[in-house]
Amino acid sequence: MSIQYDADVIVIGSGALGSNAAHELAKAGKSVIILEAGSRIPRWKVVENYRTSSRKGNYNDPYPNQPWAHTSYDPDYLENTGSFDFRPGMLKLVGGTTWHWAAAAWRYLPNDMKLKSVYGLGRDWPIDYATLEPWYQRAEEALGVSGSDVEDQSGQDGGKTFPPRSKPYPMKPDAVTYMNQRFAEALEPAGFHYIHEPNARNTRPYDSRPACAGNNNCMPVCPIGAMYSGDTHATHAERAGARLIPEATAYRLEKGAGNKIVAVHYRTPKGEDVRLTARYFIVAAHGLETAKLLLISEVANSSDQVGRNLMDHSGSGLVFLAKEPVWPGRGQIQQGCFLNWRDGEFRKRHSAIKHSVGNAVPNADVTRRLLAMGVTGPELDRRIRHDAARWMSISTVYEVLPDPGNRVTPSSKKDALGIPGLSVHYNVDDYAAAGREVAYEDYRKMVAAFGEEVIEDRTGWQNRDHLMGTVIMGADPKDSVVNHECRSYDHDNLFLATTGVIPASGVINPTLTGVALSIRLADIIRREI
């Protein structure tokens, strides 16, 4: 007698990673159920919430924060016990946290994936760049990435396309802003090479979404959907036949015979419990929540590494006034970087570094500063214009190394459903701190070449919301949670679609890599069912 299942595959989480995996499987004719803890919110409503928010610098604010589906900004839901307040801008709604990313869509470099063998630090990936490359391409086509086909993205100005590509980017890059043209020209003599940031933002109509018109609001919400967000593939998956259940918080993965996962249990806001069975399970519930769900389910943790090795690209910032008007705020909120410290022998001594040039309309920051200085009247208006035309904001990220002591665990506090929240213990490592000293010297050079006045150059460590390491991937089941397929070493029908599998952080935003791995694991599951 054959066993009856509720679905071939159940995907827990409707963000960019889970939805892309679900879409691939549904397209292939598999029956798919997607569980999403949060609600479904239309874009126009998020935009109106933003426009009427009194705290526009708070990127979670236009989104739901429910007693049964908290965002990460709720201190009772996400508590910290380490030296750093680790607080990524996690959302819970259909489409997930890519509703408010800035859509940077980088590929890792071959050396990023061989950190241990090349530089003797951290860990190697269990797969190499060449193996992953075809799925990088598919991920770029799924998200709609615009990028340069000719630049050396290692930042060394090597004069050739790097890392190697099998096909061109789906879309051409957007034009370089006037500000970045001037800044790049000024920094070139000091050895800085400006690199276009590949990003999932349309430069022509693509996948039924319009081209970017420079609404300058990538975070916290693109009002026109020119920037990719995970709701695109949540919808694609549904149209391909997947069933998406919002307001369904998974709280237990159930083990059965042969170490298989046989069911997932979820709870609704009304407290109803539902058990669903499937042949395969994909947990795609965010870098922190995925680890928590495994821990409270007591699965997949024979290595004792679930929740450990938590990494962000801990960051710092520089704000200064340029020596000439350049008018940030025209275009998307970021589009280019300086990557001189992306790869090299120095990584034996200090972290890799990425400097991104911000391009957000700066009026709120400019005006708050002037008001705090007591500037009023015609002088206030004059200074707003003067400073807004010159406001340069650099966001720097540092590579961090996996440390089992940096970890997420279920909190002793519970949400309205009685499910534990998140407890994080995180300290920034010496490797990143050594990198930051090098970045401070870069800040000095940038200001010397293009600056008039430093506003802030010692920000302290900042969150960068790039979750990695918590369900670490590796070649050895004794120290790794998943293998190179993102398959649990303990349960062969359990896959994890999360940037939490990433074992070596590099300095690039990890979402594109997460989508590539998610499409790849969907291919593997498709072949096995």
């Binding site: 708070n58 049964w68 900004y73 806001p269 008007p325 705020g329 025209r330 309309v361 007591g374 807004a388």
Partner: protein
């Protein structure tokens, strides 16, 4: 934290959508009609703006506060409904605010200050209490909110006044957008604003 709402519709903020002042706003309304749709679907919360309509404020007090706002911002064109909102919200945060605003207005009159350009360096600015009151009013008009934002937490003491009406956008209106609105189309940003040489 924000008041829990029914699961079906959790996204209403306390304030209604913004006053239609900017051309971009009007255009957008004309194109999409989305505000009226939004207003119809978004139930108003129990916020101050909804709970204390401008009519509840004494007309004379409101008139004086509006005139004070005009003086402090150096602008004639302020929206009277927004004046009522600023007064209501600042009073909510500081019950003595109406008296402080009256005292500030009288001090400015006594000092013969009829325009904000004469305020810097004046005895009124040098009085810490008056200065605090003046900056609270100026800040609400320029930034479009009252209170102090806190990062990384779901709530703080800020309250919404206006978005497109925030005066901080006026000095740059010919060069940059009010975020979420657009101008120029794809790649317009490769060129600087036409008036760059004068900036």
């Amino acid at each position: 934290m924000r008041q829990p709402s029914p699961p079906a519709d959790n996204q209403a903020h306390d304030a209604p959508a913004d006053a239609p002042q900017s051309p971009s706003r009007r255009q957008w309304l004309g194109m999409a009609g989305a505000l009226s749709l939004g207003a119809a679907l978004l139930p108003l919360g129990a916020g101050a703006w909804a709970a204390v309509p401008p009519a509840a404020l004494p007309a004379e007090q409101l008139k004086r506060f509006h005139a004070l706002s005009q003086l402090l911002t150096g602008r004639e064109h302020l929206d009277a409904d927004l004046s009522a909102r600023v007064l209501t919200l600042l009073t909510e945060a500081e019950p003595a605010f109406p008296q402080q605003a009256e005292a500030l207005g009288q001090a400015l009159a006594r000092a013969g200050i009829a325009h904000i350009k004469d305020y810097p360096g004046s005895p009124v600015e040098q009085d810490a209490t008056h200065k605090k009151t003046a900056m609270a009013i100026i800040s609400a008009w320029y930034l479009g909110y009252t209170g102090t934002p806190k990062s990384g937490v779901p709530t703080d003491d800020t309250r919404f006044v206006t978005y497109t009406g925030a005066l901080m956008f006026e000095p740059t209106a010919d060069a940059t957008v009010i975020p979420t609105y657009a101008r120029g189309g794809t790649n317009y940003w490769q060129h600087p604003p036409a008036h760059l040489a004068a900036d």
